[in-house]
């Protein structure tokens, strides 16, 4: 355990301390022993996903839909403890929780929430968040991907880059331009026309996958 000179721990409620200790133990027992090898061999530690879901760390802030409904301090502590192990493991949880489950919960229809949130919480489905494109991540307004209505369907054209979890995702939240402005689309990666190519010549976050 690291040094806590200002006793920040005593600012935490009992529940927050329990969350922190549980995640900390998980990281010590399950992440630290394997993560250096995963980095070296450039392999994603898939065996960590199920235990992460069982600890309630996916969509931890969401109330209902099979999610843990923890507060924001707890979400912060989860991130802190996971990243004590590895930034990649924390990135995996950030994407699933904040970039996929949060928008479905906040902007989705009741049907979308019921279909996806319980599966994402249990890691029966893995999500990714497709905003960035090759022409410049800092300027997302310059988006080239567009979506057009075709009868009842939408047809999306474009490509995204640097998408965390992209190579293992079942569900992609793709942001695209429409006649009305930028909108978010839930695209199952099994949809015909969807392809993902892994970026494997990277020297950072080697334990997790990107497209």
């Amino acid at each position: 355990m690291s040094i806590d000179l200002f006793d920040i721990n005593s600012l935490l409620s009992e529940e927050e301390q329990i969350v922190r200790n549980n995640v900390s133990r998980f990281v010590d027992e399950n992440v630290k022993p394997i993560i250096q090898d995963c980095f070296e061999s450039h392999s994603f530690p898939k065996q960590l996903i199920q235990p992460i879901a069982e600890l309630g760390l996916l969509g931890s802030s969401i109330e209902g839909y099979g999610c843990a409904g923890m507060n924001s301090i707890s979400y912060g502590l989860i991130c802190q403890e996971l990243e004590r192990g590895d930034s990649g493991v924390r990135s995996f949880v950030s994407v699933q929780s904040s970039l996929v489950m949060y928008p479905i919960f906040t902007f989705g229809s009741e049907e979308q929430k019921e279909e996806w949130l319980p599966k994402l919480a249990k890691a029966e489905a893995i999500g990714c968040f497709g905003l960035t494109e090759s022409q410049g991540g800092s300027d997302p307004a310059n988006m080239k991907t567009h979506a057009k209505k075709d009868g009842d369907d939408w047809v999306i054209n474009g490509s995204k880059m640097w998408i965390t979890n992209g190579s293992i995702a079942d569900l992609a939240l793709i942001w695209a331009n429409t006649e009305d402005g930028i909108r978010g689309f839930l695209v199952e990666t099994s949809t015909s026309g969807f392809t993902a190519n892994e970026i494997d010549n990277k020297f950072s976050l080697r334990g997790i996958g990107y497209i």
Partner: protein
């Protein structure tokens, strides 16, 4: 299609949530590096004394602890604001920038203080350091977060 949002504020509001978590996460990476370094400097003997008996080493360790403590207090306050529904994106930008910069600098400095061992996978700092090179870029680069705080101070958008 997600029915309840149109425009860039959709994806940006997701990024605010993720960046909040990243500001906390970076503290964990820095703590892991410092923890291992403290153990190393206890047992590494140079010039007939343990490395941690040198003032220059203690000052560097103390400075890391100072920065980790500051980051922890910042994130804790941010968490309170978020739980009260009062967190805003400028606060999140400042915290992501401050804490990830803190962690990256500490990981690099720990790497240095491990000497040659610092480039070996036997010690954690180089892995954290390389990972944090991504963390400082993704979810808004450090520069974009600085310019977000600058915009709040001046009222002028410079990016």
């Amino acid at each position: 299609m997600l029915p309840e949002v149109v425009g860039l504020k959709g994806p940006l509001s997701c990024l605010t949530q993720a960046r909040y978590g990243i500001s906390w996460g970076a503290i964990g990476a820095a703590e892991a590096c410092l923890e291992e370094l403290i153990e190393y400097t206890k047992t590494r003997v140079l010039f007939d004394r343990a490395l941690d008996e040198n003032q220059a080493i203690q000052i560097r360790l103390a400075d890391m602890q100072r920065r980790i403590t500051n980051a922890g207090l910042l994130s804790h306050r941010l968490g309170q604001l978020k739980d009260e529904g009062r967190m805003n994106p400028t606060q999140v930008s400042l915290a992501k920038w401050n804490n990830v910069r803190m962690a990256l600098d500490i990981a690099r400095d720990c790497r240095d203080m491990l000497g040659g061992s610092g480039i070996s996978a036997e010690y954690v700092p180089i892995r954290h350091m390389l990972n944090l090179e991504s963390v400082i870029t993704y979810e808004g680069t450090e520069t974009i977060h600085q310019l977000t705080v600058g915009r709040a101070l001046t009222g002028k958008n410079a990016f």
